[in-house]
Amino acid sequence: MIEAHALPRVLHGSSGRPLDLSTHEREFAPGTGDRTHPALLDQLERSGLTGRGGAAFATARKVRLLHEQRGHHKTVVVNAMESEPASHKEFALLGANPHLVLDGAVALASAIGARDVIVCVARDNPAVINHVTRAIHERVRRARREAAITLHTPPGRYVAGEESALVHWLNDNESLPQYRPVRPHVLRLGRSAVMVDNAETCANVGLISRFGAEWFRSLGTESSPGTTLVSLTGAVERPTVLEAAFGTSLRTILSSARADPDPQALLLGGFGGTWLEGTHVAARYDRATMTSLGADIGAGVIVVLPHGGCGVSETQRVVKWMANESARQCGPCAFGLPALADDLAHLVRATSDGATALERLRARCDVIEGRGACHHPDGVVRLVRTALRVFKHDVAAHASGRACEGSQTGARYVAVPHLERESDLVWQ
């Protein structure tokens, strides 16, 4: 049993190596809690748990939707793809409590009536693959009576972690997002309904099925109950993954990673996320507060940009990488995102046509938004728009042909992976 107000929760007992099954059962009371459909659904509903992958969809609603689907061959897919380059939470979570994630997935499976659990880990993440493989073997050796768990390793592309791309890969070995005109849409593996949940969501389900909704709500705020994993990078002493209760102030979170206490701005959510002015460090880190400030918690990513960095060039590098990660299925994404990156590059170089490039950039954002099969282009548009708002002085300087001071030092804070050649982008 973990004390209700104790932190960490999903990272409880982490010691640098994953807990084996018997230690796990000792640390987190063995499968107590009623996991049959109505009981777990009721607990999930009262807990107010929302998906931790970024979209924050209510887990109870998803369970109900999937439970209503007919057929006996439903599947629970655990999304541990960690496609956000700035996120490291799956690495930390599955490196600490793989069995907690699997417990949650198995509980969800019995709640919706699924027989199979599939864990998806990107194939360029061998450490996590090891942890999951070992955990599955331990459970098989124990001959636990539960849903069958298998591991799948799709390619580590950015959009491969999107849920429809994951299911597409499981169906046809192609990590490409699918077009879904009606939402919420029930994804299908062959003919059977699939529920995709982030690994952190599953870990929280594993806790709720043990300790209940009241326990879960004892941390966090009314509208964002529970805890969240935060990946801190950028101007920090050491990149950190920590578990914080929702509603903790940003300043506290930053200080626990010994980050720059007075940053210029924070990149929140992920590469398709939002910029937030550094003046808001006193704000509480929960969904309602962040939304009111025009930011989004997303997948729990925080990248710290100190004074002296150039937000425009950081955004340009991120957008260029995101454009390269487009699956190139939809025209507005395949052509629009490189165009955005190009406009930003003009702006960064502060050439004489900076003002035209800025105007074109704004217009292109409006044209691209909402026209892809998935939300990849929308995320990039959101990042660009918040950058134009948060760094408006630097943007104005760049547009008038004077590069800001930060861009002249050439310092970089957002860790953007290398651009891969188009021929090296593997989708299968």
């Binding site: 490409l176 077009y179 939809c330 052509f335 099969a373």
Partner: protein
């Protein structure tokens, strides 16, 4: 010939994965479909009433004329 009055409105929708930017829809339904700088359709999001026979006809032409069969007509709330 009796004209059957239809209630409700429709929007034209495109499957962006299928769409390859042939541009036929813009030619066939210019009021409903604009074109972006890369030749892909920007479809108006304001619903058109089914009673507007001319627009309905051009929307149907666009659906039938799409070489990729990427378009469909979707009914939206009774308005």
């Amino acid at each position: 010939m009796a004209v059957r009055r239809r209630s409700g409105s429709f929007v034209l929708r495109v499957d962006p994965v299928l769409c390859d930017g042939f541009g036929h829809c813009h030619e066939l339904a210019p009021d409903l479909v604009a074109m972006d700088e890369w030749g892909y359709p920007i479809i108006t999001t304001t619903p058109t009433p089914y009673a507007d026979a001319q627009e309905l006809e051009s929307a149907r032409y666009a659906v039938r004329g799409c070489p990729r069969q990427a378009l469909h007509i979707e009914r939206v709330g009774e308005a």
